[in-house]
Amino acid sequence: MTLDSNVTTPRSFKTLSRRDDEFTSYLDGSFSSAQVALPVRSLNVGTATEQVTFEILEASAVEAPSFLKVAEALVRPTSLIFSAGPMLTVLSRAGAREINWLVAIASFIGVLAFQVATNLFNDYGDHMKGQDRVRPQGGSRAIQKGWVRARTVKQSALGLTGFAALCGVPAIIHSPVLIAAGLALLFTLEFAFQRLRLKARGWAEGLAFLLTGPLLTTGYIYAVTGRAELADATLGCAFGAIALLYFHSANFENIMIDSQAGARTWATRAGFDASKTFYQVVALACLVISAVHVIASERDPRLLSATFAQAVLLYAASQRVARLKSPLSSDLQGLRNSAIQLSWLTTLVMIPNYIWMSVA
C-alpha cells in the first residue's frame, strides 16, 4: 500500500460499494471530467460486497508523463514481437511462393492492432474486475495511476478492434476460408473478458501457444501465399513455446497474489518449487522444438544458430530461476521479460538466415 509520497496537501477519499449506483462511473473514470478517482484500496474484490476506496484528485494534479510514454505503457510495444515475430519469420521463409503484398501488409497491421486492442481490453477488464487493483505489477498501471481513464482505454480498444477487422478484409476477400481464422483470432479476446474463464481454468497457456504459434504462422502464410507447409507449423510451435514461457513467467511472478485470491493458474496449481521446475521444462521445450524445426522440418544446419542463441539466453534465465528463494524475490519480478527477449532474438536471428537460404 504505497501512496504517492510527493503529495503534501490532505487527501480526499471516497469509498464506494459495488451496490452503489456511482460505482462503475468512478471506476471507469466517467463520473467527472474535472476530477480523477485513483483506486487506493480494494476490498472483497470479485464479490457482490466489493468496496473500493478512491483518492479524488483534480485532473490537473495528476503527474502524467507525456502522451507517448502513456501510449507506450498501454501498447507495450516490445511484447508485440509475440505476433510480429512469427508473422515476419514465416514470411521470410516463404521462398518461391508468390506473396500477395497487400494481404501481407494489411494482415500484419491488423494482427498487431488486434494484439494492442487485446492489451487494452485486458487493462480495462482487469481494472474493472479488480485484478490489476490488487496486483501491484498487474497490467500497464496507466489506469491505476490516473494517466488515462478506463473508459478511454475501452473506447480505444473498440476502435482498434474495428480497425483490425478492416485490415482483415483483403485477406478474407482473397481466401474466404480465412473467416474461420478470423473467428479463431477472436478467442484472443478471452484473455481480456474471461467469459469462458479459460484463464482461471489454467487454459491460458495452451491458448497462447496455439494463437501465437502454429495457428498464427500457418493462418498468416496461407492468407498471404494461399499455401501452408508443415515447416510453417513447426516454426509456429517454436514461437508458441516462447509465448508459453512468457505466460508461465507472468503467472509465476504473481503466484502469491493469485494463490491468496484463489485463482487457479498453472503456477498456483503446481506451487513455488514445481513452478521453478516447470519453467526449466518449458525452456528446454523451447530449445527442443526449435531444434526439431531446424533438423526435421528445414533440414538446414544454418538455422541452428537461432537455437544456439536461444540456448545462451535460456541458460541465463534458467540460472536466475534456479536461484529464486521466495515468491516475492526481486529476481522473480520481470521474469517475463526474458521470454520477450527470447522472441526478439529468435526473430532477429532466423529472418536473416531464411533470407540467406532463399537467396542461395
Binding site: 500500500m1 503534501t8 487506493v40 484500496r41 521466495s326 526481486s330
Partner: protein
C-alpha cells in the same frame, strides 16, 4: 488503559524446568500494545473481564511465541535489551517454549468454545508464519520493492493487528462482513505503520528506546526505509551503502541531504496512510451499532503515536 497480568504461574506446569523462568523473562518488559488495543475494542462491546483477559492472553501469547522463534531465526542476541531466550536457555527450549505458547492459545480458546474465534486465531497464526517464512527467504535481496515488503509485513505484522481489532467482535458474536472487512483494513494499516516506524528505528530515526542501529542492513535484510532510501541511488553508491557498517558511514556514502529528503518523503507517504486509516474509521463509525461507536474514538488517536513514536 489498565495493564492486565497476562498469565499466572498456574498457567504453565511448574514441573517443567526453566519454562516459567523463560516466560518471566520474556513477558517482563513487553509494552503490551496489542493487548491494550484488544481492550480498547472490547470495552465498548461489553465483553466480560474474563473474556477480555482470554483475548489479551491469546494475542500476547502469539506475539511472544513469534518473538521466541523470530530471535532464533534471525540469530538476534538481544530482546528488549536483555539476552534473547535462545541464548540464555537453549535454541531447543526457545522453539519448544514458543510452540507451547501457541498450543496454550488453542487449549484456552477451545475451552471457551467459540469456533469462529478459534478459526480467526488459527488464520492469524498461519499468516504470521507465512510472513516469517517469506521474510527469511528475502535476506540479501537488495532489489526488493516497498510493495513487496508490504506484502510480507501484512502477513507478519498486520495479521496480529487485524486480530486485535476483529477478535473482540468475533468474541461478541458480531459477524457483519462489511464491518470485518473494514476492521481488517484498519488492522492492515496499523500493522504497516507500526512496521515502517520500526524500520526507521534501524536507521536511528525517532529511536527513543535506543534500539540497536543498522541491525537489519548488517544482517542482509533491506527493510522498507532501506528500500526507500537506496532505490534511486546510482548502482555503485547503492552497493557501497549496503556494505556500510555504521550509520555515519552510510550517511557519508549517500549524503546527509539525501537521507533527510528521503525521510521526509517516507513520512509523507505514511501521513497519507494515516489519512486513509482515519477515512476508513469514519466509514466504520457509520456501520457500527450505537453502543459500539465509541470504538472509533478509541482507535482514531492510535495511528499517529504508533508511527511517530511519541514518548
Amino acid at each position: 488503559m489498565r495493564r492486565l497480568k497476562i498469565y499466572d504461574d498456574q498457567d504453565f506446569p511448574a514441573y517443567l524446568p526453566k519454562l516459567n523462568n523463560l516466560y518471566d523473562d520474556l513477558f517482563a518488559d513487553g509494552k503490551g500494545f496489542r493487548s491494550a488495543l484488544v481492550q480498547k475494542v472490547s470495552k465498548p462491546l461489553g465483553l466480560s473481564d474474563q473474556l477480555v483477559l482470554l483475548l489479551c492472553q491469546t494475542i500476547e501469547f502469539i506475539h511472544n511465541a513469534s518473538l521466541l522463534h523470530d530471535d532464533l531465526i534471525d540469530r538476534s542476541h538481544l530482546r528488549r535489551n536483555k539476552p534473547a531466550a535462545w541464548t540464555k536457555y537453549t535454541p531447543e527450549y526457545a522453539v519448544l517454549a514458543g510452540d507451547y505458547l501457541l498450543a496454550r492459545v488453542m487449549v484456552n480458546l477451545s475451552s471457551h468454545g467459540n469456533v469462529k474465534l478459534i478459526q480467526l486465531t488459527a488464520q492469524a497464526i498461519s499468516d504470521l508464519l507465512e510472513g516469517e517464512w517469506i521474510q527469511d527467504s528475502l535476506v540479501r535481496d537488495f532489489d526488493i520493492s516497498v510493495e513487496q515488503l508490504d506484502r510480507v509485513h501484512n502477513l507478519k505484522t498486520g495479521s496480529l493487528f487485524k486480530w486485535c481489532l476483529r477478535g473482540p467482535f468475533v468474541a461478541a458474536e458480531l459477524y457483519d462482513t462489511e464491518i470485518h472487512s473494514l476492521l481488517d483494513e484498519c488492522g492492515t494499516i496499523l500493522g504497516l505503520l507500526f512496521q515502517r516506524s520500526d524500520d526507521l528505528l534501524d536507521f536511528d530515526v525517532r529511536n527513543y528506546e535506543n534500539k540497536a542501529v543498522l541491525g537489519d542492513l548488517k544482517s542482509g535484510y533491506l527493510n522498507s526505509f532501506g528500500v526507500f532510501l537506496t532505490r534511486d541511488l546510482a548502482p555503485d553508491v547503492r552497493q557501497s551503502a549496503f556494505r556500510a557498517q555504521s550509520l555515519g558511514e552510510l550517511k557519508s556514502i549517500i549524503t546527509e541531504a539525501h537521507f533527510d529528503s528521503r525521510l521526509a518523503a517516507f513520512d509523507r507517504m505514511n501521513v497519507s496512510l494515516i489519512e486513509l486509516y482515519e477515512h476508513q474509521l469514519e466509514r466504520l463509525r457509520n456501520l457500527l451499532p450505537t453502543q459500539a461507536k465509541p470504538i472509533v474514538d478509541e482507535l482514531l488517536p492510535l495511528s499517529k503515536p504508533l508511527y511517530w513514536r511519541k514518548k
